[in-house]
Amino acid sequence: MDKKECAKKDMKVLDDFYKEYFSKSRIQQGYWVTTGLFTFFLVFSSWFHYQTFWEEDGKVFIIILVMGMYGTVSYVLAYQHAFDKKGTIVKIAPYLRYLPISVKARKKYQFRKLLKFQWKVYAVAQVGQILFSLLDGQGLNWGNFVYPFLAAFLVPVALSALSIAWSK
């Protein structure tokens, strides 16, 4: 099997593993609810935040924005953790350490899942940004595109990529 086929096989194996593990583990419900809630804030806030950033209550929306980004990190963290017998959240790495899968393959899988997820979040935030701006009669400018890209894609991906890179 050449390197490309090996890499493809590793991604499939990890996909099957996580699908099965998440179906058995309570960790999924908690993380997905957290991710869903905060991602909603991010998408919802992206339009309001842009409109009100320079106003007094812009700070409120910065908090909402940070919470939205946390949703992304939660999504990534779900792939890095497991429950032990006491229900405490622990690192998943020790459970995979002695299996025939490299740390590099695992991190690559997590990053690809992150990109796929965040791309969808950004797409919804961008469409929302354009729609609300048009409905509000304010028209569009470069900020309507740059801001969602930074807030809903680039910064969350960068933060989560760091989390993946530093994980063992």
């Binding site: 194996v13 017998k85 459970y95 025939p100």
Partner: protein, 222 residues
């Protein structure tokens, strides 16, 4: 020429306060090797150098003639690891653990696993954390046997075993090596057991292999 399942050549490294110094030995196919030494001698560190891809050392460690650093993850298909340090999901049953982890191996015989567990009298459906220490070790052994490794690594597994189980355990080990296709490397600080039960013996002290040879020679020297 005998096929070498495991070869250490000039391996030197350190991991925290534990250091290995210039280890050289080989384990041919179809044999059992015991590694003895006091606590902190480096036995478990040696095991971790074989199992962990983040181990830093000079020299080479080969499994079936392949340097493990060339493709560490893939070569773990050839290794069956039994240890209290081995991670299985405590809140899942042995069968659930297998359903999750078998996917990673090139070949995994689930039927063989279930038969072996039945022979050893270990439940497939009890949560892993509820199994006794002996049952966990039996499960790990059944798990290892199911993916047909070339090398079984057993780290201090016989400590605290009752005499009946100990006998059964060594019968299982002899069964896996009698085909001549696999070998066993086990660590212990129980000298009498290592002298009597193994074909080769290594003595470690402060990270060095101070003696290596056939167990028969060790018994005669002693």
């Amino acid at each position: 020429m005998e096929e070498m399942i495991l070869e250490f050549t000039n391996v030197t490294g350190s991991k925290g306060k534990f250091r290995l110094q210039d280890l050289n030995f080989g384990l041919p196919a179809g044999y059992m090797m015991g590694l003895m030494g006091a606590n902190g001698a480096g036995k478990s560190t040696l095991m971790s150098y074989i199992m962990r891809e983040d181990a830093k050392y000079t020299g080479s460690i080969k499994i079936c003639g392949q340097d493990i650093r060339e493709n560490h993850a893939y070569l773990r298909n050839y290794i069956g690891f039994v240890s209290e340090d081995n991670g299985f999901f405590e809140s899942l049953s042995p069968m659930d653990n297998v359903n999750l982890m078998a996917k990673f191996y090139e070949t995994f015989d689930k039927e063989l696993f279930q038969e072996t567990m039945k022979e050893m009298g270990v439940s497939l459906s009890t949560m892993y954390y509820k199994l006794s220490r002996g049952e966990k070790l039996k499960f790990q052994m059944a798990f290892a046997m199911a993916h047909h490794p070339k090398l079984y690594l057993l780290d201090e597994v016989t400590v605290g075993m009752d005499p009946v189980f100990r006998l059964d355990f060594f019968k299982i080990l002899h069964k896996v090596i009698e085909t001549g296709e696999a070998s066993v490397l086990m660590t212990s600080h129980i000298e009498s057991e290592m002298k009597q039960r193994t074909d080769f013996l290594g003595i470690m002290d402060e990270g060095k292999l101070t003696w290596f040879g056939e167990s028969l020679d060790y018994r005669q020297e002693a």
